[in-house]
Symmetry: C2
């Protein structure tokens, strides 16, 4: 990357895996050079409160207060609220910790007072001392509906209440036809200072696709100045966390990094792909899709892992950028039959 | 009291002191023979949640889960929510414990779904295993406004935020002109099975007066079959808890049991009065107001104290009932100048 060239990075993220890479990015990029755009199609209203699982996981992770044992919620959590709610006969299938609850109560109150989710999120991040900009993908409600053999399920009922047990046949994103992307999200993609966009190792179907399904996002990704690179959430035929691998199998896709690369590549959204060392044997096939591929360690157990993968991903994107000299992006290859 | 005669009791209650006597009543009366009507003019919406301090203190006390150290909230409480809310820059002047919060969240959700406060309270009491019937004074919002030298203050701002410091010059109950008493409250007063009504040792100005100010309540108290007796919240020139004594002084009233008796008697609402042994010297003066007076220990430190005072108060009311043979209540004496 040339001296004085743009240095801003946009990351698209779901929950845990995305948040880990976002944390790495926030530590290798200068102060305010990172915008993390979070999926909000997992959001739901529960007990009268607006719960935004992916936004919260990213916020808590960037603020250093995430619960690394559960993968969701806050560290040093207590559960008195839920225990008392249980005594009152209330709904307790969704595990709301006492600390976590403060986020939902404060957010809900601010939304009711007329703030947008983008504004509320900015205020919460400021209070938590987060330097990166964290954005919801949209200020409008979009809700993932999981299509299963026994009918449609709202995402949190599928994910938490039913523990991802029902086999899925597809997804729809209720509200996506009228929802607009958060204006700050589109502006970040259009900003000439944005040197790279990173699709974090999040679930392609329920964490990334809802973001891509918003009107104008795919076009903005094709237009954005810097390369768009994705990190595979599938490593050695399995997902590090969550139901991505199970979903791929149920949808009849190969449960491989190639399967993920093809999923994005078919829509001409990527300029590069990052796979784990365990999947080095798939790199040639992914390159054949027209996607330059970085092979490295993508499993982020330690903070050092997060920083190293973030640095390598940024450097990889910068290399692609230099190689193509910012020409218009290539058309995708023909779809394989 | 004659055999087979009515045995139901209605108690009007504010927070701590009222709840203590209500607990005593619930233990000396048979199973479902007690209706406790709670002041709701302290209620307020905080952080988007409906908080009902007096209802909650009574519920928690009757359920055996009240915090006897603070006098409000639940026992074995934790404070993670408030701590996290503080980190988010939220409002923390009103102390909401994690367990307590479950009540407010569940109540708010049920109210939003269209249940009345009477219905919500019944559901919460059922879940908590409370045999007595606990009623809000009204399903409509009534809000105490405290008149002070420096202007009007909402009750919780006066009571909690400002710790009752501003001198008061009066009160008004916003909404009381249009609010209706909870239908079950009026029905209980009109019920021929109601043998006595007890005005608990609660703050006359901000706990009992809002109940009395509701349209139809004073008339129903004059019509109710059994005697109406009040227990003085002022003992030895001081209030056991809360600002009642301070308010009386600021309003230019004598800070005595007589002062409280006169406050109710002027409106012809009482048939009898209960004062503490410490105020035995005032009994004759209260009798001169036309109010038969029971002198006994009214300071309720132990559960045995609560049960004894409840039993004595009920027996006192039964004695009044037998003496007057259920004739129409006497007119009040002329107001003293």
């Amino acid at each position: 990357m040339r001296k004085g060239s743009p240095s801003h990075c946009v990351a698209l993220s779901g929950g845990v895996g995305g948040a880990k890479l976002a944390l790495g990015l926030s530590r290798v990029l200068p102060g305010d050079s990172l915008t993390v755009v979070c999926n909000t199609a997992d959001d739901f209203d529960h007990l009268g409160l607006r719960v935004c699982p992916d936004l919260d996981t990213v916020m808590y992770t960037l603020a250093g207060i995430s619960n690394r044992v559960t993968g969701w919620g806050q560290a040093h959590e207590t559960w008195s609220f839920l225990e008392a709610l249980s005594h009152l006969g209330g709904e307790t299938w969704f595990r709301l910790g006492d600390r976590d609850l403060a986020t939902h109560v404060e957010r809900t109150q601010r939304l009711r007072a007329g703030e947008t989710l983008t504004e509320v999120t900015a205020a919460l991040c400021r209070a938590l001392g987060i330097a990166a900009r964290v954005l919801p993908m949209s200020d409008d409600p979009v809700r993932t509906v999981v299509l299963t053999e026994s009918g449609e399920l709202s995402f949190q009922h599928y994910f938490v209440r039913d523990a991802c047990a029902p086999p899925v046949s597809g997804f729809r994103f209720a509200g996506v036809d009228t929802a607009r992307p958060s204006p700050a999200f589109l502006a970040a993609l259009e900003d000439r200072a944005t040197a790279a966009t990173v699709v974090c190792p999040s679930n392609p179907f329920v964490s990334v696709d809802p973001v891509l399904a918003l009107d104008g996002v795919e076009a903005a990704l094709r237009r954005t100045r810097g390369p768009v690179v994705a990190v595979s959430p599938i490593v050695g035929g399995a997902a590090i966390k969550g139901p991505a691998a199970k979903m791929m199998a149920e949808l009849g896709m190969p449960v491989t990094a190639v399967g993920v690369a093809r999923h994005y590549r078919e829509r001409n959204l990527l300029d590069g792909f990052v796979v784990d060392d365990a999947d080095a044997g798939q790199a040639a096939e992914i390159e054949d899709l027209g996607l330059p591929t970085l092979v490295t360690g993508t499993v982020m157990e330690t903070l050092a892992d997060r920083e190293r993968l973030a640095g390598e991903t940024i450097d990889f994107a910068r290399g692609l950028d230099a190689r193509r000299g910012n020409v218009a992006k290539a058309a995708p290859p023909e779809r394989s039959a």
